[in-house]
Symmetry: C2
Subunit: 190 residues, 2 copies
């Protein structure tokens, strides 16, 4: 962003409003989840009128985009160089983000047929961000369909249990998934 | 179900209505998905009044339960005895069921906070049915956290891509997932 000294007054105000609303949208997403990320809730949180919000960001997806802007990147732990340790740390961080932002509900909302064509780029942005650290760790070891499958498997271990059994995976499940994937489990050849 | 000869006339009529509505609910689920599994759609499909449906099955979850009753079990291919072949066949069958019934949308709907306390048993029923064949194949090889993780990983390979990248996994991704899990992949020790 250019410094405010370079910007006309109106642009400065719009940028400040955007930053305020983005922070408010992220706070609502964290506190209430995507299902309740509404103009009314964000307007109240930000201290702006609903009219102002609708004028600049007419859809709920716009509010989600602002919240993601305010978030920046998801936390990715710094790699230690030990693949097992680093993969477990990534999955643990992803589990934290999933819980923090209720990302499963966000992805469900974006997959809803009524979400419209704007949903796919947002979904892809969240997926890319969620898988970024795993991809960095796995790309030197796997390629092609195996890389895709490995990313789906590890992402699935974190994201699927909340949909399929109503709970996040525990530490043992994350470690077991990594062990099976990289072949260092108890029953594989060492 | 007792034979109709054992049942008073009213029970027979209720049972016939239930069967008709269950088949209609399954047809709507297949054609339109859980988001459009409404009393109006099912009543129209079944040729009964909405009033009748609401009287017996007041919630949308009741309609989903009927649809699952009409479905019976998901298709599970008969095992051949070759673990790799059987796991790939199970994943392929699960991918077909996911597409046929839009199970990802059903699970999203059941995970919605507004779905209420009745949602969890239905979710568990779908998950148990989806994982049944995989569990039979994996239970002799894995236990505890490793079995849970293996089930999540393989289920995740099928169910997560539709939410995370908007497409079902191709055959290569399913085969790669199985190879990595059972350690017969190209880069593992044979």
């Amino acid at each position: 962003m250019p410094s405010s000294a370079d910007m006309p007054g109106q642009d400065v105000r719009v940028a400040r409003t955007r930053a305020d609303v983005a922070r408010a949208a992220l706070a609502v997403l964290r506190a209430a989840g995507f299902d309740d990320l509404t103009h009314a809730r964000v307007a109240e949180q930000a201290g702006y009128s609903k009219t102002t919000l609708y004028a600049h960001w007419p859809s709920r997806l716009d509010l989600l985009r602002l919240a993601l802007d305010a978030l920046g990147t998801l936390p990715h732990p710094r790699p230690t160089g030990d693949l097992r340790t680093d993969l477990v740390a990534e999955l643990t961080a992803f589990r934290g983000s999933l819980a923090d932002l209720r990302l499963d509900r966000v992805l469900c909302g974006l997959a809803d047929g009524s979400a419209g064509a704007d949903a796919a780029p947002l979904r892809d942005r969240i997926t890319a961000e969620a898988q970024y650290g795993l991809r960095v760790l796995l790309a030197p070891r796997f390629a092609g369909a195996r890389l895709d499958a490995a990313l789906s498997m590890l992402t699935g271990v974190v994201a699927c249990p909340s949909l399929m059994v109503g709970a996040l995976p525990d530490d043992a499940a994350l470690a077991a998934a990594v062990d099976m994937l990289i072949g260092s489990g108890e029953d594989s050849v060492r």
